[in-house]
Symmetry: D2
Subunit: 349 residues, 4 copies
């Protein structure tokens, strides 16, 4: 922590600042510049309330030096975290190969779900997404099928072998959802729902943590830190676009977040081109860009009949468009030397 003092600070005020810091067990280092005196604080930065210091007389600005996340940091674990799924643990997120998660926004019924699952598996998706509990802006919109939706997801996994990714919105439902799902998704609007983060931190299920609509990269890592601090280290970070002034797209995909995250953390980075753009016609170019920038995987909305989808139809790919997307993404994955993880059906070997 570095404390920048106001110009012409009195000796008394400076002494009180130093005393305040040292009482908390840190050492200080005073550097007198031509216009400003600066107090460096050496020791456990977490003990210093940044917030309190600025209310001391003579403090102009307080600058933290260390990063606030530990378990999530690349320094804590230089090797990439790899998360394994499936009976034979043969689906790996965070390894060399790109993993694609695909499926409908919501589970709307058995036929549609099975159609979607077969379509995405046939095109090379490795995991299935589908929401049983849906966060909706309007209380009058379709809120998801609930537990019957989870049961359908379990059935489709039994048939296809694909691990299931589904959202959990309520700390009271974590146990229920974890009983069915392979990955617990935390939605963008819940990225700082700390009660929920703590709860998913206590179960042994990988978590797909979506970046909040206006969360900084640091805040995303701090949200992961909440989950990891409870003992669950299997966190996948998901860039899904941030909110800006631009209205041509639903959100603005922060492509630079991918290399920044890969540098800052050992956790896998997944990109959601469907929500990032909010338009079906943008999914393929955004997916290609994400892999070129270093993402470990994609999560994509695919619906057999988007015009009749009960949510997110405008950004869902039809199965044929998804096949095309997969071909294009494969080209990029090969170009960057990673390749794609394809699903080998249960009886295939």
């Amino acid at each position: 922590m570095i404390i920048v003092t106001t110009p012409g600070i009195s000796a008394d005020a400076l002494d009180r600042i130093i005393e305040h810091v040292e009482r908390l067990g840190l050492r200080t280092h005073v550097s007198r510049g031509e216009q400003r005196t600066i107090v460096g604080c050496i020791g456990d930065e977490a003990k210093l309330s940044e917030v309190g210091l600025t209310s001391l007389d003579g403090v102009e600005r307080v600058i933290p030096v260390l990063k606030p996340y530990r378990l999530a940091s690349r320094e804590f674990s230089p090797e990439n975290t790899q998360i394994r799924f499936g009976d034979r643990a043969d689906t790996v997120v965070g390894g060399r190969e790109i993993v694609v998660i695909a499926g409908p926004c919501s589970v709307e019924g058995r036929d549609m779900l099975f159609d979607a699952a077969h379509a995405v598996q046939g095109a090379g998706a490795r995991m299935l997404r589908g929401g049983a509990f849906k966060p909706r802006t309007s209380p009058y919109a379709f809120q998801g099928m609930g537990e019957p939706g989870l049961q359908l997801l379990a059935e489709v996994r039994a048939e296809t072998g694909m691990p299931i990714v589904t959202e959990v919105m309520d700390p009271r439902q974590v146990e229920l959802v974890a009983a069915y799902a392979d990955v617990l998704q935390i939605g963008a609007r819940n990225m700082q729902n700390f009660a929920l983060l703590n709860e998913v931190g206590r179960v042994q299920r990988p978590v797909l943590l979506k970046r909040g609509l206006s969360a900084t990269i640091t805040e995303l890592l701090m949200a992961a830190e909440y989950i990891m601090a409870q003992g669950n280290g299997d966190v996948m970070l998901c860039e899904r676009g941030i909110r800006t002034y631009e209205t041509a797209t639903r959100n603005t995909m922060d492509i630079a977040a991918i290399p920044v995250l890969k540098k800052e953390t050992h956790l896998p980075v997944i990109v959601d081109p469907s929500h990032a753009g909010g338009r079906a016609d943008l999914v393929t170019p955004l997916a290609m860009a994400a892999i070129a920038a270093g993402a470990d995987g994609l999560i994509v909305e695919v619906h057999p009949d988007p015009a009749n989808a009960r949510s997110d139809g405008e950004q869902s790919l039809k199965p044929a468009a998804f096949v095309h997307m997969m071909q294009q993404v494969q080209l990029i994955a090969d170009a960057v030397g990673r390749g794609m993880s394809h699903y080998a059906p249960a009886g295939a070997v």
Copy 2:
């Protein structure tokens, strides 16, 4: 709902759009312009999935005409909602007089809480704020005292008569917090925590709903709609600054949100100048501006010793500064013909 079609749409594609809309029970109205054909949809707009329509061939854009909130809308209830508190129901939020809620960010201990309560009551605050459960960006930061903090708040209410405003973060704690508090606060990060909104909608306690960091005004009203749709109509909306690129302040206070909300809704509008600016030196001018723009009340952080606060010290007013703020706000409240609601101590009449 208005559907703008692509230039040169075929008769077939147009027919399929019309058929799609009419199958959902709405009537259509086709208007052929020089470059675009437009389909107006007449009937229950909620039945039309905006989202699905854009995936039909020939649809360029879909424009909703109606507002998505109902119970929260000014049209639903032209009269201002007034919320009454206290044994004698003599504290009114949403009436002619301005109400000021003040107190520490967190409940940190008995002495500090009583000191703060006496200070703010003496200066004219009508209600007491203080957090027992604290949403913190870092899992390693002070998370609040929990239930013992609620008990201290109840004690201070017993002594001072001031209604208590405190945050609830977890749907499992709504009942507990409602047993102690007069107002349930929903924090900015939980504005779209729909499980929590539903739960506070089911108890009979007024709710102070803070606007999310990057929530639109419409989304704030939709979050209120969630609470109201469950049966709890006593919702106060709180503008507390939005996230922008400007770094001179913690957030950017959206002053225009106040008159926009007063026009769109009958619910009271409270402003939080402490979080909006994030700096103690900005609290007074922002509070004055808020009242000048039409706010019904303020919620302000006051701490007897900000340098040793366990959270938000940099934006907390010292008691003397709060006295000054109240004097300035009083001048504005009088100028706009509203006045301020002052607390008359229990034995005062």
Copy 3:
């Protein structure tokens, strides 16, 4: 300037950083923390290219300590700058009294301009605004009347005595516009048009400098610094809303910018509630809030017939609405002890 080094930096790399800084004539001060070593740089910060330092090995972050503006800073000139206008220098911007500038967005013709001028003067406006050169998003939109518009403005000044505020968009027109106008307005889109800033810095006409759509407060002050560095110290800063994700209003008025600017600089601060909100119904509450927060004046669009305005009709007040706004603003100006500067017609004394 403070240099934060990477963890475990080598002695060699540290030496090269120190050598780089000292070669530029500054002294260094090394502080070894538990996890990071920090190099304080003492001397003329402007000599250090922040930009270059980060490309040295072992540099993680470079933190400037001093503010980049000098002439515009409150430290340079603790007293408020007051700018005087009119033959008798009796219009003062930056003094105790609030000054209101009002008039049409564009000069569209003689009758309309005179009507508008009489209306705003009658309601208490002290200066007249009106654009002869208009920056328009579309090349096909009305671009202003040009010099004939300036001539009309000069005529109306001759009749009413009101000083004229009008925009200059092109460095080649500065001399022309300065020949007619009392104040040269720099529009938001030109806030960092450095050729134009330099040019208006070289004439002796006060400048109204509008904040760019996404300019920080610091960048606004740096733009003023450009003008002042050329020798023209009469700069009025104008907050006119910034661009955010919110779409309920045209821009988001940054109300906190007012007290922040009043603290950072001695220059007068004017607020434009017309552009900030972009809606006629928001002008009055935003104007009241601006004065409550400490603004020195307002610039407001008024049009006798907004439905037929050639630009900005949706945010223009009709004369009757302007009269009402002035009454409301007067109440706030009185409440904060400033009052309003009313125009005394030429022959009135």
Copy 4:
């Protein structure tokens, strides 16, 4: 243009709206919904001032249907615009092959410029960038070498054969800069400097138009429209990051803007990964992502000695890093079937 009226609008008010529209030469089409009446306006939308309509009684909202740009639109010219450079017109921007423009931020001197030019040409760059006139936030920062810098650029072109891209900031300098440069660059801060846009529209030199810091995609296209409306159709659009709340990067690169622009317009799209991220370590992943998303070219800052650069050192690649970037970009260009345009030295064939 679609006019949404207020609920319960009177017949009189509706008549006046219709009359207003028809007086301007458009036809109207009234559609009565259950809660709102809608007036469709058929004819030349440009004649309707959107702005004025909202001030008519009974108008709630006005929705434009048509896009405001014409010459820049894909509908106007379905084929991609290709811009040719060099004596043999063998450098093509907007064709199948990717074009890379590289060089230092500023021209700082002969040796550095020639070193940089040889380095980037050797690595495969096709055109040379370098600023002689520099827009700087601070009036005290290095403002560029001016005309001597242009002369150096011309010398280096004579030797290497590489076309020159350099910025013009002032309408008075357009002729001068056009006498030396092959491409006139309009910087982000000047994207809506309409005097400058008009001036570059009048010379026959291709223009590289950078997107403003907070410009929408539509505004970028409207700025191009200004240039094209003056007769100069050779405009390259440049995405260089937009301003958001995220501080980990200098700007947020809007990767989705690339496919959106390719759909909306026939003009070539260039990406500037140096300014978008503001960090040398992000240039390569952002460049790769840009090509994967469909960009036609890149403009990249390269400096032989970034630590001593006079501007933008933190985001400049060293020559060796640029070689690596080019190899990586080549892989992506090949994967998407485009390849890269390499420079064949003058005497090579």
